[in-house]
């Protein structure tokens, strides 16, 4: 089963602390949504509000068009997969998975059969008579998934389910989660602080910070065309270069930066049209820099820079560069494996115009 979820102006305060600040979010049925953000950003609070473990101080929650704001967890078409798995330690796996069905009054033989089916889905059919303490972390995690799915929820809520696993297992489980979500078609809302995990599994990522949504979009959109400085910085390494809008025309804007004056198309301004005189920040990913070789169309020249440090990362060299025009600015630039780099080299820096994102504000504000 699957259902759309709609959060309207949800706010949650704990005393003087605002955990969630006027958040609105539309999730389509069958979508895999990831709530991403640092700890304390409100993502778990939002998930708890969806699951019914918390009720919002203001605003409302609709699931499949039905009002759910003050409905108890047991009566919601949602199930939650907890970070610590929360398996019943005294029950066999099949009884763990069948628990929700038992609560719905299903007879023993029928629910055992169904539980076995879901254990099969997560590859643990043969362990059905084991108890949770006999399993590894990854296996427990799968049982928790099977248990949550066994009651055919319309929406599955996952609270950092992969947080306790080691990196390799986490990457493997991500693929499995994604595959299982495709098979069952249930709406998944997944909370994590790991942006790689978010990109690996999400249909859409919701980047959150300080109780607000910073950015929503497909992983590539969020990474390539972030709509907030926080989102740009959180999704991966990025260079922030401060500037000021000096001139505007209907299709482009001229920005003065420490690395020179640059004219960019208005599409580079992802967070809205620029205003003359506005303080802005350039966001450039390390892998987007190029060596300026002659005059090339659509390439923005950023002047000469000198390599101050470099390390080989396999797929690329990660270099620190100090631009000649602004020596206190340290840029992180990825250079091709095949290039020869050494400290002190002068590099003519450039970046394709389409890869530059300009956002209002300065990094000091965030």
């Amino acid at each position: 089963m699957t259902a759309a979820v709609s959060v309207e102006n949800a706010t949650k305060t704990f005393g003087p602390f605002t955990a969630l600040n006027d958040v609105s979010l539309e999730i389509a049925a069958g979508e895999f949504i990831v709530l991403l953000g640092p700890s304390g950003c409100g993502k778990t609070t939002l998930l708890s509000i969806l699951g019914g473990f918390l009720s919002p101080s203001r605003g409302r929650v609709l699931i499949g068009g039905r009002e759910m704001t003050n409905v108890t967890p047991a009566k919601r078409p949602t199930t939650t997969m907890f970070q610590d798995y929360a398996l019943f330690p005294h029950m066999k796996l099949k009884d763990n998975v069948g628990f929700g069905l038992r609560m719905r009054g299903m007879a023993k033989t029928e629910r055992d059969e169904k539980a076995l089916g879901f254990l099969d889905l997560v590859g643990l059919r043969t362990a059905a008579d084991k108890k949770p303490h006999e399993l590894s972390g990854g296996q427990r995690q799968r049982v928790a998934l099977a248990r949550a799915l066994a009651v055919d929820p319309e929406v599955l809520l996952l609270d950092e389910p992969l947080g306790a696993l080691d990196l390799k297992l986490r990457r493997q489980m991500q693929d499995e989660l994604k595959a299982i979500q495709k098979r069952v078609g249930t709406t998944f809302v997944h909370v994590t602080h790991d942006q790689e995990e978010a990109m690996a599994i999400a249909d859409r990522i919701v980047v959150m910070n300080q109780g607000r949504i910073e950015d929503i979009g497909a992983p590539a959109d969020i990474y390539m065309r972030p709509r907030s400085l926080f989102s740009a910085g959180f999704m991966g390494e990025v260079n922030f270069i401060p500037g000021r809008v000096t001139a505007l025309d209907p299709t482009s804007a001229t920005v003065e930066t420490a690395l020179g004056t640059v004219t960019l198309s208005l599409t580079a301004f992802t967070a809205g049209a620029p205003i003359a005189g506005q303080a802005v920040t350039f966001c450039i990913r390390p892998e987007h820099f190029r060596r300026a070789e002659g005059e090339q169309a659509n390439l923005v020249s950023l002047g000469q820079a000198r390599i101050t440090g470099q390390a080989f990362f396999g797929t690329h060299y990660r270099c620190h560069l100090a631009p000649d025009a602004a020596p206190d600015l340290s840029l992180v630039v990825h250079m091709r494996q095949s290039t020869h780099v050494s400290d002190g080299d002068a590099v003519p820096l450039a970046v394709p115009a389409k890869d530059v994102v300009v956002l209002p504000g300065t990094t000091k504000d965030t």
Partner: protein, 262 residues
């Protein structure tokens, strides 16, 4: 050399300590097999006649049965009440919860004599006749704090998510308690139960002051002792000891099994 000395000293120390604790019991058990009228040295020979006498004594056997019933029923009630109190205080925000916890544990610090006298006054005031029931009530009063403390201390925060998961899957509060919380806490509930059984089984002052016609075993033994020393009292004492040991072993076994597995 130094190690040998330390290990010798610790062995001697352990022997003395255990001797001090268990010698009286050993002597009691030994002289319950005395072939003669007095349970004092010299040991005249081995005989089970006093055990035969114990099992033939209807009053003693009735007291034994009474003790069993009182121990089991009062411990069951104490465990149930202790569990409910622990659940409420661990899982819900209650007004003055620190005070309530204190009040629940407070009877532990009051002497059994005071508790017995207090109960006696209350029972008299309300005109409730003394019986095994009143003894049971007394034992619930002394064992409830123990049961509460043991069970409460084992209710960790890591259980909260598990209960939450059960609720999320559609379980009512009652079902969460019966199907999830209580089974998870079973080791400590059993520990509390068996400890209260042994305490109730051995308890004399409350049983003595709050009973009339039907009495528990310690009270019956006390009345036997009034007519002088007799290997029969040793025999019944050995039996009492045996039952306590059995209860403790059972507790150890069940706890060990549970904790050894997970």
């Amino acid at each position: 050399m130094r190690n040998v000395l330390i290990s010798t000293v610790s062995w001697v120390y352990a022997t003395l300590i255990f001797g001090f604790i268990f010698l009286p019991v050993a002597v009691l058990v030994l002289f319950s097999f005395q072939d003669g009228r007095l349970p004092v040295p010299p040991f005249n020979g081995f005989s089970t006649q006093w055990y035969a006498a114990v099992f033939a004594d209807r009053k003693l056997m009735a007291a034994l049965a009474n003790s069993f019933v009182v121990a089991l029923v009062s411990s069951l009630i104490a465990c149930l009440l202790g569990f409910l109190a622990a659940y409420a205080l661990a899982r819900h925000k209650l007004p003055g919860s620190a005070l309530q916890r204190g009040l629940l544990i407070a009877p532990m610090t009051v002497s059994y004599l005071i508790i017995a006298l207090g109960l006696l006054t209350v029972l008299n005031t309300f005109g409730i006749p003394l019986s095994l029931w009143t003894v049971g009530v007394g034992h619930v009063v002394i064992n409830l704090p123990l049961c509460f403390a043991i069970i409460y201390s084992s209710m960790g925060d890591h259980h909260i998510n598990i209960e939450r998961a059960a609720r999320d899957l559609g379980a009512s509060d009652f079902k969460v308690m019966v199907l999830v919380t209580a089974p998870m806490l079973m080791p400590s509930i059993l520990a509390a139960f068996f400890l209260s059984v042994t305490f109730s089984w051995d308890e004399f002052i409350i049983a003595f002051l709050l009973s009339r016609f039907d009495v528990t075993l310690p009270v019956e033994i006390w009345s036997l002792l009034r007519s002088g020393l007799n290997p029969k009292t040793n025999a019944i004492g050995s039996l009492v000891f045996l039952v306590s040991v059995a209860a403790l072993l059972l507790l150890e076994f069940t706890l060990f099994r549970k904790s050894g597995k997970s």
